[in-house]
């Protein structure tokens, strides 16, 4: 083969490679780059490649052992992980084979997953990829799947919002907006499980039934709403106020176990409950009795026990003549009357 024939053969081979593998590189026996595919020219200008030594332009990250032309040739057919040496240091995947003529090598490169970053760095179009290269299909899939995922995510968010709203409703007493019995049980359970310190008050309205019976349910509802407002105002955001029965409330004070402070809160609540509530030109008057338990008084916490002890303290308050506050203590059990509400309480 003459020199001219040789030259023509090489040009033909390069032209074919430009179509089949537009990201290929030919490296001569001396280790210099003597041809690059057209897509590589989107990454750097011609001068950045041609005539430069391969290792000047590329950093061979994996396998990291080869640093000479001989070492490179030994990587024949292996998976290469390369980076351009200057910024942007685009990651490239590659594979090399010996050249058909001469002693050089041919390397084919691809972006692999760095394609998404590469698109932001370089003006690549569909024509820069071999027709058989699935990169374009991969990009289509990335976009299509992200769009589908976005639609699913927004559906999930709306469903979650609906679920939270439904749960909130299920945990809320609709008349007063306070938590309901279920919510209170749930919160109390969590506090006990977490071995948190807290105080629990059981509050029962006095004379409420009389308001309901003589002035009607509308008056009763107004009173309950007023009570709810007072209880919320007299507690902190971290506390729980629940309406657990017709005129019964449970308050849980998070991390508050000081007797003086609890006594003060209870007294203030009772005195505010006694403020007359106007309704339809009439005045409703009620009061409240409270029994309190403190979690730190117990060695082992049990929700049923806590609530029943709070009841006993509440009965004691009722027996004392209502509008009172009592802390639970075992002494209360000595007075048998405290084991049950006062007779005629139903009419209170």
């Amino acid at each position: 083969m003459t020199v001219i024939e040789e030259q023509e053969f090489l040009e033909g081979a390069s032209a074919a490679m430009d179509i089949f593998c537009p990201m290929h590189i030919f490296v001569s026996a001396s280790g210099h780059i003597d041809h690059v595919g057209p897509t590589m020219l989107k990454l750097r200008p011609k001068e950045a490649f041609l005539g430069k030594r391969f290792f000047e332009v590329f950093d061979l990250c994996r396998p990291s052992t080869a640093a000479t032309m001989e070492g490179l040739k030994a990587l024949h057919g292996r998976k290469l992980h390369l980076q351009l040496r200057d910024a942007p240091r685009t990651d490239l995947k590659g594979v090399l084979v010996p050249r058909m003529r001469g002693d050089g090598i041919a390397i084919n490169l691809s972006f692999g997953i760095s394609i998404v970053d590469a698109l932001a760095e370089y003006p690549l179009t569909s024509r820069d990829f071999a027709i058989t290269d699935p990169t374009i299909e991969m990009l289509y899939l990335i976009e299509a799947k992200s769009a589908a995922m976005e639609a699913s995510r927004s559906l999930n968010q709306r469903l979650q919002g609906a679920m939270i709203a439904a749960e909130e409703q299920a945990y809320t007493d609709t008349l007063t907006g306070l938590k309901n019995r279920r919510a209170m049980d749930h919160i109390l359970g969590r506090l006990i499980e977490g071995e948190k310190s807290f105080a629990l008050m059981h509050l029962d309205l006095d004379f409420f039934k009389a308001v309901n019976d003589t002035m009607g349910h509308a008056a009763g509802d107004t009173v309950l709403q007023k009570v709810a407002r007072i209880l919320v105002e007299e507690t902190r955001d971290v506390d729980t106020v629940a309406r657990v029965g017709g005129d019964e409330f449970v308050l849980i004070f998070n991390r508050l176990t000081e007797r003086d402070e609890l006594e003060e809160i209870a007294r203030r609540m009772i005195s505010r409950l006694e403020e007359p509530v106007p309704h339809d030109g009439q005045i409703c008057r009620i009061s409240g009795s409270i029994g309190t338990v403190i979690s730190t008084d117990y060695e082992a916490l049990d929700a049923v026990r806590l609530l029943s002890d709070a009841d006993i303290a509440l009965y004691a308050s009722k027996h004392k003549g209502r509008a009172c506050h009592t802390f639970y203590s075992d002494d209360l059990l000595e007075d048998g009357r405290n084991l049950a509400p006062p007779v005629g309480r139903e009419a209170s």
């Binding site: 998404v116 970053d117 698109l119 932001a120 690549l124 179009t125 569909s126 024509r127 374009i136 299909e137 990009l139 289509y140 899939l141 976009e143 299509a144 799947k145 769009a147 589908a148 639609a151 699913s152 927004s154 559906l155 709306r158």
Partner: protein, 195 residues
């Protein structure tokens, strides 16, 4: 019918005619809800009821409404994602036409339960094509007509199209390509949102 198709009707109505128009459409359709979810599946009758509502509210024949929807899906900036996905089909309008056979497959690849009617492109010459569509319950051919018109614009091609009905509910769109580079068209960057 897939929620994506129903939400397409929904966003078309809202973006072009406003929320009130959509409320009226859903009122006519009487489905018991006012919004579709893109990722849920609905009965075909529900989609038909919405189309009926659209005809009444927009005072346009169904074919025109469907064609407008096809155009909207490609040309409205609010639904840019579909236009981009279609542009992955080819670098010019001819390549795009040649990719239409794969469109139902591509749609399924993105959303596995999205079923589009079968499409087949016949090539008579470099400038004469016909797209045959399998039977569909909502007159998909009219949507495709609007969509193809908008895609031709997008690629900058000048085309003439004619719609025709075939036996057994199949539809056919005859496409004559007058010029491939009539205008510059809209640009398309592979990296879309990134770049």
């Amino acid at each position: 019918m897939h929620g994506l198709i129903n939400t397409a009707l929904q966003s078309f109505t809202r973006d072009i005619y406003g929320d009130d128009a959509w409320a009226q459409v859903m009122n006519h359709a009487d489905l018991g809800f006012s919004e579709f979810e893109a990722m849920l599946i609905y009965e075909d009758e529900q989609t038909c009821a919405v189309l009926g509502g659209l005809e009444l509210v927009l005072r346009k024949p169904r074919e025109e409404v469907l064609e407008d929807i096809g155009t909207y899906l490609v040309s409205n900036p609010k639904v840019e994602s579909l236009r981009r996905l279609l542009r992955f089909g080819g670098v010019n309008f001819i390549e795009f036409l040649q990719s239409l056979d794969d469109l139902p497959g591509r749609a399924r690849l993105a959303v596995s339960d999205l079923d589009l009617p079968v499409m087949e492109l016949s090539e008579y010459s470099v400038e004469h094509y016909a797209l045959t569509l399998g039977a569909s319950s909502v007159g998909f051919g009219h949507v495709m007509l609007g969509l193809l018109r908008a895609m031709a614009d997008d690629y900058g091609a000048l085309v003439m199209m004619e719609y025709g009905e075939l036996a057994a509910g199949r539809e056919r769109i005859e496409i004559r390509l007058l010029e491939t580079d009539f205008t510059e068209g809209r640009s398309f960057h592979l990296g879309g949102k990134a770049g």
